[in-house]
């Protein structure tokens, strides 16, 4: 059985790369707007997305949440569209629209019949420069984002805990401030703050257009030139040099207690390097490391804490390589009933030390790589996911070439690379360790 599988894996390794190519075309408009076209002709659908290289980490101090607030306000009117008319128009054409904000980007998208692409470009290019807001829009929508914070954060002990731990992780970078904003600053957000962010960052030379689906690149190019190409670049666009992390020299520890905790857990995050353009090797090793440590039943942490011993009910390892600046490598261990958080943390640290000592099981490494290869095939079934992959990369310091080189960089990772990356990243001086627990639970 194992031999058959090994033979099969070799066969697939040879067969996959050619089969996994997605059809991608890229070009740049004269005003600096980058364009990515991904073809998928299986269904008469298109996803039209505009990504701005501006997220919550680009905000000025004191106005946390303004990037996300502005995202909401872009659904209000322009000089030619009444408030709400944008989404209503998309819906009248059978489409759906939405938007999302993260640390490094804000993105707007519509999913609609492919022959409606021109209308989407007309409206999206309009609101890139012609937004019209009044005080009434501001007050109501501010209440909406406050309720959004209530729902996502204030009502969840786990989310409050993550927010506190994340703030402790970053000594200087804006990644330590929540995307949705701190509540007192959200209450103070107004028209002036929103418009200032809009005027600074919303311009074609700070945006990436991603069109994916049943389209021809030359048609997309003609339409993009007509609508987005007509907009002037912003000559005053600030350079994206945000406050960086200084050396981190001391571990931070926190205990967060909340009566709404049903299952306590330990969370550890380490400051980690992100994927850099042209130099993705270390990030690739960390990506593989996360899979080997936390990727399901056969992972190192599951083996040590859930199989060999019954220390934990859940373990996970996660690395977010796509990030403009320093990112984190995160571990979570939820102790089994009767196991203290201290015992869970100790067992986790012993498992990490044991892993660095023993090294990577070559068969495990091969399985992880096999899955990453197969993911390339599965990903072609979801054109939205592909569109997101390029949008995120291009707003987080990577190029189309980096995205396309990534699978090969990952396949080239050796067991030694993984252990080296682990040794380097698991530096407690750069770590935050948090315990989430209920006050009545005596550990």
């Amino acid at each position: 059985m194992r031999n058959l599988m090994a033979a099969l894996a070799v066969l697939l390794a040879a067969a996959l790369p050619a089969a996994a190519e997605e059809q991608v075309t890229t070009f740049t408009l004269d005003n600096g707007m980058e364009v990515v076209v991904i073809e998928d002709h299986r269904a008469p659908v298109v996803v039209h997305m505009v990504w701005y290289k501006a997220g919550s980490a680009d905000e000025d101090p004191g106005v946390s949440g303004v990037a996300h607030f502005l995202e909401h306000l872009l659904f209000k009117g322009t000089e030619t569209l009444a408030p709400g008319e944008f989404s209503a128009t998309v819906a009248r054409h059978g489409g759906r629209d939405n938007a999302f904000t993260s640390y490094d980007y804000t993105a707007y998208f519509q999913r609609i019949a492919a022959d409606r692409l021109e209308l989407m470009m007309k409206m999206e290019s309009d609101r890139m420069v012609n937004l019209q807001l009044d005080e009434g829009d501001i007050a109501t929508e501010r209440d909406v984002i406050i309720e959004e914070r209530n729902m996502r954060v204030e009502n969840s002990a786990s989310a409050l805990f993550r927010e506190q731990a994340n703030a402790a992780q970053y000594l200087n970078h804006r990644y330590g401030v929540p995307i949705i904003g701190w509540m007192p600053e959200m209450h103070a957000l107004g028209l002036e703050e929103a418009l200032s962010f809009y005027e600074t960052y919303y311009a074609p030379n700070n945006a990436v257009l991603v069109v994916a689906g049943d389209v021809q690149p030359e048609d997309v190019k003609a339409l993009a030139q007509k609508y987005y190409g007509a907009l002037p670049a912003n000559p005053d666009l600030p350079a994206r040099d945000r406050p960086q992390e200084p050396r981190q020299l001391a571990e931070r520890r926190l205990v967060f207690e909340d009566a709404r905790v049903g299952q306590p857990y330990v969370a550890r995050s380490y400051l980690a390097p992100e994927r850099d353009s042209g130099a993705q090797e270390e990030a690739a090793a960390l990506t593989v490391l996360a899979e080997i440590l936390g990727g399901g039943t056969t992972s190192v942490l599951a083996q040590a804490l859930q199989f060999d011993t019954q220390t934990a009910v859940f373990t996970s390892a996660r690395y977010g390589g796509k990030s403009l600046d320093d990112t984190t490598f995160d571990l979570i261990v939820a102790p089994a009933a009767g196991v203290t958080l201290q015992a869970a943390e100790t067992a986790m640290d012993e498992a990490l030390a044991g892993f660095i000592e023993t090294g990577v099981d070559p068969a495990h490494l091969e399985r992880v790589k096999m899955q990453l290869r197969a993911d390339r095939i599965y990903a072609r079934d979801n054109v939205n996911q592909l569109a997101n992959r390029y949008g995120r990369a291009l707003t987080q310091g990577l190029t189309v070439e980096d995205v396309q080189a990534w699978p090969d960089v990952v396949q080239a990772v050796t067991g030694e690379d993984v252990v080296d990356a682990a040794r380097k990243v698991f530096d407690r001086r750069q770590a935050v360790t948090g315990w989430l627990k209920s006050p009545e639970v005596t550990q």
Partner: protein
């Protein structure tokens, strides 16, 4: 067990969340579904799509967690979670390794109407993938150590759910509305019932739930009808026939009014509901369009407009027609800060009463129809989504030509239909709210 521990999921993006839905009335929708019957008599719906070398396979077994006896609640859920924990010579990790070796992905989920099993595998590895899947479904090991490990995970999830306002409100609403029907209690069971489950209970749940005469199958991707037919008999042919009776209809208790469940948290979570409508009802499509206008239409629904856009009382408010076996309910949800939730409830009630009296406008109906008919074709945009839809259609008893005729049925709904259904179906007196939080100015009025 790959089950995600939901509290641990990192939230990075702060999107305006809306349900996905996909655009165009005039598209002549031909997904190309064919019905395949195996030599052994098992039927499946197939879409051949050879452009990407993989297959999405969906299985749904009717019954699911509602086959649990009241004191064994959670048995089907625990059994389903254990299917990937070993079969034949493979223990839990051996099974996971074997699947990873060929990059096959299996997922097993128990719901209150069904057990659903999804598989995704590269077409070259079809035989190996099906051998693993068959083992997990037909001859799972249910090892004692796996039972204890997975039971501990389920208990951890239940303990978290018991402190989560969104989950508490779902449980409390179900307990109020569904009487002694299984839908009245959580499908995952309670801490007490799950702690008491034995290996014999798991074996019994397996025999009751995974039966060959209650299974629906769809496959989409790089596979032919002949291959699928052969595969079906191997995969499912050795399963037993059903013996456990399906639960009957639920006696719905929707008395109108409000039930407050005190819980210390800043934002109140609310579920509301009133009697719904069966999918087989001749007025179903009129009700479906009506719901879209009332609360199903994303940014543009009446409730979203009144509660969020005009008043900023919530981040999101939605309604939908729930038509689970034996229980048709019109449901909705909203969440507002404790000091503002009374106003949200008042606005919802006022709109419910107004829509019943005044109905919707011709403009609203026109916009709803263009959206619904236009969005429908956009759902069929990948092997995975098409397989999901094809298995759900069989489960709901829809004919093969449903996809081709569905938009005509939406188009056939007239303003008179919608507004008659609004008058007959919308019942402010039965609209029942369950509120979890510390709502100001809201009192319990139901018994």
């Amino acid at each position: 067990m790959k089950r995600a521990f939901r509290l641990l999921a990192p939230v990075l993006a702060a999107a305006l969340t809306l349900g996905t839905a996909p655009a165009r009335a005039e598209v002549d929708l031909d997904v190309g579904i064919e019905e395949v019957t195996s030599p052994g008599g098992i039927t499946a719906w197939l879409v051949e799509e050879h452009s990407i070398p993989f297959v999405a396979l969906e299985l749904r077994f009717r019954g699911g967690a509602s086959l649990d006896a009241p004191d064994k609640r959670g048995a089907t859920n625990l059994m389903t979670a254990l299917l990937e924990e070993g079969t034949g010579a493979l223990d839990a990790q051996g099974f996971a390794r074997a699947a990873a070796d060929i990059a096959a992905e299996f997922s097993y989920r128990a719901h209150d109407e069904d057990v659903s099993i999804s598989a995704r595998f590269l077409s070259e590895t079809q035989d190996e993938a099906m051998e693993l899947l068959r083992g997990s479904i037909v001859t799972p090991r249910f090892d004692e150590d796996a039972i204890e490990r997975v039971r501990a995970q389920v208990l951890a999830i239940l303990r978290s759910d018991n402190k989560d306002p969104d989950q508490i409100v779902r449980n409390e609403f179900a307990a109020l509305v569904y009487g002694d029907h299984p839908y009245a209690s959580p499908e995952d069971g309670t801490v007490e019932t799950v702690e008491a489950l034995t290996r014999e209970d798991i074996l019994a749940a397996h025999e009751d739930a995974l039966v060959r005469d209650r299974v629906y199958v769809s496959a989409v991707g790089d596979i032919t009808a002949e291959e699928l037919g052969r595969l079906l008999d191997d995969l499912l042919g050795d399963l037993p026939e059903a013996e456990a009776p399906l639960p009957g209809r639920a006696e719905l208790n929707l008395p109108g009014g409000v039930e407050v469940v005190e819980y210390e948290t800043p934002q109140s979570a609310v579920i509301f509901g009133q009697p719904g409508i069966e999918r087989e009802d001749p007025d179903f499509f009129a009700a479906y369009v009506l719901n879209h206008i009332v609360g199903g239409g994303g940014f543009n629904s009446v409730l979203m407009n009144e509660v969020r856009e005009k008043r900023g009382l919530t981040y999101g408010i939605y309604s939908y027609l729930s038509d689970r076996d034996g229980a048709a309910v019109w449901l909705g949800s909203v969440a507002s800060a404790n000091e503002r939730v009374a106003e949200s409830i008042a606005v919802i009630r006022a709109q419910w009463a107004r829509l019943r009296e005044e109905g919707v406008t011709a403009e609203q109906l026109k916009d709803a129809k263009t959206y619904l008919t236009g969005a429908y074709p956009l759902r069929f945009d990948g092997n995975g989504p098409i397989a999901d839809i094809a298995v759900a259609m069989q489960f709901d008893g829809m004919p093969l030509d449903y996809i081709a005729t569905r938009n005509d049925r939406v188009e056939a709904v007239t303003l008179e239909d919608v507004n008659r259904v609004a008058r007959e179906l919308m019942d402010p007196g039965k609209l029942t709210f369950v509120v979890v939080g510390q709502p100001e100015g809201v009192e319990t009025t139901v018994n």
